[in-house]
């Protein structure tokens, strides 16, 4: 009975998470072929150990060499990193003041404000991205509004540019930034600020010297929660970005579905994962430290 309790979820994850991952690794070392499935070699165990050795000897790093030689790929990695960094920064810039104001609001207001932040999170991601197409297009609402107010006389091109991608990311990931920051600020003891002001700090100084350092764990958590998924994002760049918006999630998708090059798509995936390992480990460590600090 106890064994079964461990075994069922264990086997499930091994079969549907670990094994598929091994297959990706293996295919990334294979060559493309005009066959079904479209790669070679395929593992044939009927010849026993010699078959396995022959199989191993056919694997090589060719796809990875190819990724370094074609500048599409490293440009896509760099531009994904850049988009992820900048949009995390913009999300923080928008999210922090909102979280700060929520934590300072009267206690009876806070559940309602919290609800207003969480509600978009439950609403479909795709729909929230879709909403921006109508706003940002040339004849869209933003251009109509700006031309009506007389700020511009010609419509701006925003949709299908990187600007639209930034707006889309900040919009969809904003709750992920607000919630952890709010959680740390809400726990903060208000008397600390009074103490700082009694000791001669101005309000501004008290904010920078007391509030900001105390909010740091939430800020770091929020930044990782935005940065990590953004790096492999596919929906936002493909709906709001242009043909020159390079993001690795989109490149992987196109390599797989449009070019049908499974080996290259697999090695693109493996490298993306290698890049992600660093922020993921840092994030885990940050969570661990926060947990210990709480106890």
């Amino acid at each position: 009975m106890r064994r079964l309790l461990v075994a069922v979820p264990y086997v499930w994850l091994v079969v549907l998470f670990l094994v598929p991952f091994g297959i990706v690794l293996k295919i990334s070392l294979s060559d493309i072929a005009l066959a079904i499935p479209p790669y070679t070699p395929t593992l044939d165990l009927s010849e026993g150990w010699t078959g396995f050795k022959a199989f191993l000897s056919q694997l090589d790093l060719e796809n990875y060499v190819f990724l370094t030689s074609d500048d599409l790929y490293w440009k896509a990695y760099l531009s994904s990193l850049q988009i992820a960094f900048l949009s995390t920064f913009f999300t923080l810039l928008v999210g922090f003041p909102v979280a700060y104001a929520m934590a300072r609001a009267a206690e009876e207001w806070r559940p309602a404000l919290l609800m207003l932040v969480i509600l978009p999170f439950w609403t479909s991601f795709l729909i929230r991205v879709y909403a921006w197409i109508g706003i940002l297009s040339t004849e869209g609402f933003l251009n109509q509004f700006l031309m009506w107010t007389g700020v511009i006389s010609e419509p701006l091109t925003i949709l299908n540019t990187n600007t639209a991608v930034y707006i889309g990311i900040v919009y969809t990931y904003l709750p992920f930034m607000i919630l952890p920051i709010y959680a740390t600020l809400e726990k903060m003891d208000g008397s600390l600020l009074e103490a700082a002001e009694d000791l001669g700090c101005s309000r501004m100084q008290a904010f920078w010297l007391v509030t900001v350092p105390l909010a740091m764990p939430g800020v770091v958590a929020g930044c990782f929660l935005v940065f990590i998924p953004t790096l492999g994002e596919f929906v936002i760049p493909s709906l709001l970005g242009g043909s020159d918006t390079l993001m690795i999630g989109k490149v992987l998708w196109e390599e797989f579905f449009n070019n049908r090059d499974w080996p290259v798509a697999s090695s693109v995936a493996i490298i993306l994962l290698l890049i992600l390992i660093v922020p993921i480990i840092l994030f885990q460590r940050n969570q661990q430290i926060n947990k210990e600090a709480d106890q």
Partner: protein, 269 residues
């Protein structure tokens, strides 16, 4: 806490305006007479009528709900088991690997999860359809369920279970009669989370779905790529309405339960 400064009020107003204006526009323009989404031509509900006659869309919606129901239910069972094992069982063979496999899918980019599952399904010759989408969704959402449930399991005292075992309950009875009622709220919110994640997923479903089964997000995505359409606005409005009603109901119910419990505790004292 002090009163809100002007800066606080401005940031709240702008922040929530930013979050809600796009959705409000979406909803308002779903009642637009014109086919052009950005030009107002008078009130009409005709796009809802057209939506209801779009059989492909309704089929996709039905597939999506089916997938979400089955995957979230299986994921809740597996995720609760996994959480229980991680929190309550001390050491067992491969524990580090197990907890690694629980957390990894949470941070794994969707394109990679989707790609790897598709390659598995092809390698074992499983035809892609409803079953493969259910398998894929169960795999990533059981990890979310397990995180939600284990945070609840950590916070309650395991001496209650021990007491039940001492009093002669079998391990299964102890779980069913003691542990499960205590973690039930977390199990329910885990199920809801898994259900919504499945309803919402585009990327993993696109990899796991075959020509025989299309989910609503896949349908929406392919039609949105061709541009905005009032029909999609109408569909979005329906989805937003369902989610809003659902979330509000859930929060009111849980608030009632909390006040009820506080009342009972006050009476007991």
């Amino acid at each position: 806490m002090r009163r809100l400064s002007t800066f606080n009020i401005v940031s709240l107003t702008l922040g929530f305006a930013f979050l809600y204006i796009p959705m409000v526009i979406l909803v308002v323009y779903s009642f637009n007479e014109s086919k052009l989404v950005t030009v107002w031509a008078g009130f009409s509900t005709k796009w809802y009528g057209e939506l209801l006659q779009n059989e492909a869309m309704i089929d996709a919606a039905w597939v999506t709900v089916k997938v979400a129901f089955f995957s979230s239910t299986i994921a809740t069972v597996l995720g609760t088991m996994a959480a229980y094992v991680i929190v309550r069982r001390g050491r067992f063979f491969g524990r580090t690997l197990f907890s690694g496999m629980i957390y990894a899918p949470l941070v794994m980019p969707e394109v990679i999860t989707g790609l790897s599952l598709l390659l598995l399904f092809i390698a074992i010759g499983l035809d892609r359809g409803v079953l493969t989408i259910v398998l894929a969704h169960t795999t990533f959402s059981m990890c979310y369920v397990s995180v939600v449930v284990s945070s609840r399991l950590v916070s309650f005292d395991d001496s209650l279970e021990e007491a039940a075992l001492d009093l002669g309950a079998s391990p299964f009875e102890a779980f069913r009669l003691v542990t499960l009622p205590i973690i039930a709220p977390a199990v329910i919110s885990g199920w809801l989370l898994a259900f919504t994640l499945s309803l919402d997923d585009l990327v993993i479903a696109s990899f796991a779905a075959g020509p025989s089964a299309t989910t609503l997000p896949i349908k929406i995505f392919s039609s949105v790529r061709l541009g905005v359409s009032p029909e999609i606005n109408a569909l979005s409005t329906i989805i937003i309405a369902i989610v809003t009603v659902g979330v509000l109901t859930a929060s009111i119910v849980s608030k009632r339960q909390i006040t009820q419990r506080l009342k009972e505790e006050a009476q007991a004292d």
